[in-house]
């Protein structure tokens, strides 16, 4: 083991590994790809410790690098990333589960989600939100988090993954409705113990 002055820095980096893995897995839906992206992130950070010196938040800096590595990984594997082998259920339109009358109007009003400002302060709420996101079918989850975590525009996503806009919008439509349904069931309709 080479000993040099930044061993402390190395130790700090290694401690962030599991935190980075959580996001890499959530976005990539593939453990091996996630491992690679995180390893590349840590290597890149080790290669330029001086880039961190001016920063106060190690996590934020690392997440920024990780996001770039993840985008590279998805670009390289664009066919696999967008190949939808989902079940019929995955590919159903969640709008069909909602209570509409035959004339297309709501049979019953959507639930009143109350005062979400309170919910958005709750740690448990975010745990449920993350669990619901994780439960999305793989392709839907990846594309949804490209919008919401990587903060890419729809145009950028189509370009990076060679997707047609129609294909992207169909997947995002399903993802958003599923997430809504999951939160409606697992958070907003639960007894008010919070």
């Amino acid at each position: 083991m080479p000993s040099h002055p930044s061993t402390d820095f190395e130790q700090q980096l290694v401690e962030q590994r599991s935190y980075l893995m959580r996001f890499a897995r959530l976005q990539l839906r593939n453990d091996a790809w996630a491992e690679d992206a995180v390893s590349e992130t840590l290597l890149a950070a080790l290669a330029k410790p001086q880039a961190f010196e001016a920063r106060s938040q190690l996590k934020t800096w690392l997440v920024g690098i990780l996001k770039h590595k993840i985008i590279d990984a998805m670009r390289q594997r664009q066919r696999e990333v967008t190949f939808d082998s989902g079940s019929d259920d995955d590919n159903a339109d969640p709008l069909e589960h909602m209570a509409f009358k035959t004339d297309g109007h709501f049979a019953e009003k959507p639930a009143d989600w109350g005062n979400p400002e309170q919910d958005l302060k709750s740690r448990q709420f975010f745990a449920i939100l993350e669990a619901c996101t994780d439960k999305l079918p793989a392709v839907q989850g990846r594309l949804f988090l490209m919008r919401e975590w990587l903060e890419m525009s729809s145009e950028e996503i189509c370009k990076e993954l060679a997707l047609t806009p129609t294909n992207l919008y169909v997947q995002l439509h399903r993802a958003r409705l599923r997430l809504r349904e999951c939160l409606d069931l697992n958070w907003f309709s639960q007894a008010p113990t919070r």
Binding site: Q57, H105, F106, P116, D119, R147, E148, S154, L172, H173
Partner: protein, 69 residues
């Protein structure tokens, strides 16, 4: 129907538009149809609030999870 009421939309169509709006700009006529429907409907504004809550929640999640908890 469509010819007589070019801006009439069902709740189901409006729900799809409210979701689509999160990822793309709606054409002008769809925006107008959405407005007109929302002004008359009791149910869709609730759905819209759910969609906006989700939008906010994802934004907060980004900040919250990356601030290191």
């Amino acid at each position: 129907m469509t010819a007589a009421y070019p801006f009439r939309r069902t709740c189901k169509e409006v729900s799809a538009l409210l979701i689509a709006r999160e990822d793309r700009a709606l054409p002008l006529r769809e925006r107008l149809a959405l407005r007109l429907h929302m002004a008359m409907c009791q149910a869709c504004p609730r759905f819209e609030r759910q969609v906006l809550t989700l939008r906010n929640a994802m934004k907060q999640w980004r900040n919250y999870s990356e601030a290191g908890e």
